[in-house]
Amino acid sequence: MKISGKVKEQTRIRLLEAAVDVITEKGFEKATMRAIAKQADVADATIYNYFSTKEKLLYGYCEYVQQQVMAELKSIEDFHEYSLQEQLHQLVEAELRHWLPAREFLQTVFAQTFAAPTVGHELLADTKVILKTMVLELIDASIEAGEIPEQPYQDLLPTLFWDYQSAILAYWLKDTSDGFANTTKLVDQSTEIIAQLLIGGVIGKTLDMFSFLFRTHVLQHMNSLDMIFQQPEILAAKRRFMEGEA
């Protein structure tokens, strides 16, 4: 039986939401694919057509949140009139809002990513791409509108923003203030700083400075290191080692 793309997408989302429920309730280790399939009202085998592992479900949800965030930003009519700070601020707020129903689940995501960074890194790639594309588009539009100057190392900025956002999410997970008021405040103030950094082109200038220092000082030292490694005794020792004489 052939099923339409729409139905398929709905099943996918149902599975992701079921994963949130089951993992939140039982913990990542104890949650089984079978239990998730059951929760989503999907046949045991069918779940594997969508997600081959639990990890993929875990990070699949992150991507799903990211898509919702993007949809929300697109739905705000006058979003294009927002200042860059407001846009970035809205982005983070939307992120928090869409994570709210799955806040405990996000804790698991963090724990898993720390426990297995390589897997996490790999599986978060798609989520990252969505966020980075959004941020890059915002920055591009802002440069085009003359709100901020051209940013050197522009491609690096979305990565920095990703790290910033992860830090905000981590802070939010520990925030015990009523209505997460402290996070609200932190986001308000930090996006303001980020916007100021971009307006002043500070990030690019800082990176320029580091690159200069690195080139003129660190690389020079590397030359002297080279000189050490090129010493005949060391070269001889190295050869002996490589040839298995040592």
């Binding site: 705000i76 009519e77 006058d78 927002y82 200042s83 700070q85 407001e86 601020h89 809205q90 707020e93 809002r97 203030s177 009523d178 209505g179 008021a181 402290n182 609200t184 405040k185 308000d188």
Partner: protein, 442 residues
């Protein structure tokens, strides 16, 4: 952001948190000057310290408190501060950054369940005014009615406690700079800080304000006085939506040079509202901040912002006219009796206190009711001239206890007179009280 009501700073609730911090920051910034030699640096620093302490201390004492002597000064809150500091504070308050679109949207979405674009037909994301702990936006409901939506600064309810802790710590240091005989006790400060907290927490619940607004809408039926309808469906703890009243804020209204007759009418209506609500309804709109009234072209007024409403005790309402009458008659015995009946204890038989403090105070207090019509243009220093008298009164050693209603009543009266001075209005006040004197004497 557009013009904010000018005397927001006099809104006691706000002085406690935001304005104090900003005021201090502002001052620090002002005195930061490089390349001073060591001695001028010390002087500079001391100056700064003095100024900060003054702000902090006064912020505490100015607020709506119950603490005895400190509270007595409350009616004078804006006057107690030296001019320079007042300007500084007022300026910094104006600099409170307005909420951006993101936060406004967030608060509305969290409080009312939908973002503004879904809830309203139109929603102006630029605020039209600052309000108690928030800001006001204009919007249009789907049925085309114009409304004012007040949105609270998110998280302000959380920061109150930490702000206050800081405030009481700082004030403990600042207090040493006050001359010994004027230093209030630790208890008084603590009580005052607690009182400020309670007050602020109450103000963060807009449901109380909604209730108050509805109550006045129902009970205050006066020709020419407008109270907005509350749209309960669009209101919650941190958002309140009301009918948008016509009219302008004082500054703008005065810019258009309204005639004497129109200004008199506005002032008279404000006084009538006050008198009627104090003596007949037993509760007053106890935040006589010019920003809480809207002035219409024909001199009619709109009452907005019922964040601070004070219920007066029946005893107070009943006995108050007697006090004013006693002052009016300059009757020593009656004055002490009246004070006692109002829950304010003054150790009696103190001729000195009477002659040097109470009598001049009473003369000042009853001056507006000595004439049929009191002209605030001719007496434009009326409130300022009472400043020292109130100060003295609050420091009078024989003054042991002050009734809380008094503080609110005085504060409201004082704030209202300040508005009348700005309006340069002539107001009829004597007759209102005379009627009650006759009744109470019978």
């Amino acid at each position: 952001m557009s013009k904010m009501p000018s005397s927001q700073i006099s809104r006691a609730g706000l002085v406690g948190s935001t304005a104090v911090k900003l005021g201090v920051g502002k001052l620090k910034h002002k005195v930061k000057r490089p390349f001073l030699d060591e001695s001028s640096r010390v002087v500079d620093k001391e100056k700064q310290y003095d100024a900060e302490a003054e702000i902090l201390f006064n912020a505490i004492t100015q607020l709506r408190g119950t603490a005895v002597k400190v509270a007595q000064m409350i009616g004078m809150e804006t006057e107690l501060l030296p001019e320079r500091i007042r300007t500084e504070l007022a300026k910094s308050y104006h600099q409170v950054p307005p909420l951006n679109r993101v936060l406004v949207r967030k608060v509305i979405q969290e409080e009312l369940g939908e973002p503004p674009e879904n809830l309203f037909d139109e929603f102006n994301s630029v605020a039209v005014a600052a309000a108690s702990l928030g800001q006001v936006h204009r919007a249009k409901l789907h049925d085309n009615r114009d409304v004012a939506v007040k949105v609270q600064y998110p998280g302000i309810h959380v920061s109150i406690d930490s702000d206050l802790k800081l405030l009481s710590k700082l004030s403990a240091g600042g207090i040493k700079l006050i001359p010994k005989h004027r230093q209030p006790s630790k208890d008084i400060i603590e009580t005052t800080v607690e009182e400020i907290g309670a007050r602020l927490r109450e103000e963060t619940d807009y449901r109380i304000e909604a209730e108050n607004t509805c109550w006045f809408k129902e009970n205050l039926n006066m020709q020419g006085v407008h109270v907005p309808i509350v749209h309960a469906d669009y209101s919650s703890q941190r958002v309140i939506t009301t009918q948008l009243l016509e009219g302008q804020h004082l500054d703008i209204w005065l810019d258009a040079n309204p005639s004497q007759k129109i200004r008199d009418r506005a002032a008279q209506l404000i006084y009538d509202v006050f008198f009627h609500s104090a003596t007949q309804l037993g509760r007053v709109h106890a935040d006589p901040n010019p920003g809480n009234f809207l002035y219409m072209e024909n001199g009619e007024i709109g009452l907005i912002d019922f964040g601070c409403v004070k219920k007066l005790s029946p005893k107070f309402v009943k006995n108050l006219p007697a006090l004013l009458h006693a002052f009016h008659l300059n009757d020593y015995q009656r004055i002490f009796e009246a004070y006692a009946s109002l829950g304010t204890t003054i150790k009696s038989d103190n001729q000195y206190d009477y002659e040097s403090v109470l009598r001049p105070f009473g003369e000042w207090l009853s001056r507006p009711v000595r004439e049929d019509y009191f002209d605030f243009k001719k007496n434009k220093n009326y409130t300022t001239s009472g400043r020292e008298l109130i100060h003295k009164m609050s420091e009078m050693p024989s003054l042991e206890k002050v009734d809380e209603d008094f503080i609110f009543f005085d504060r409201t009266l004082y704030g209202m007179f300040k508005i009348f001075e700005r309006l340069e209005a002539t107001v009829y006040m004597r007759g209102h009280w005379e009627k009650l004197w006759v009744e109470s004497d019978v």
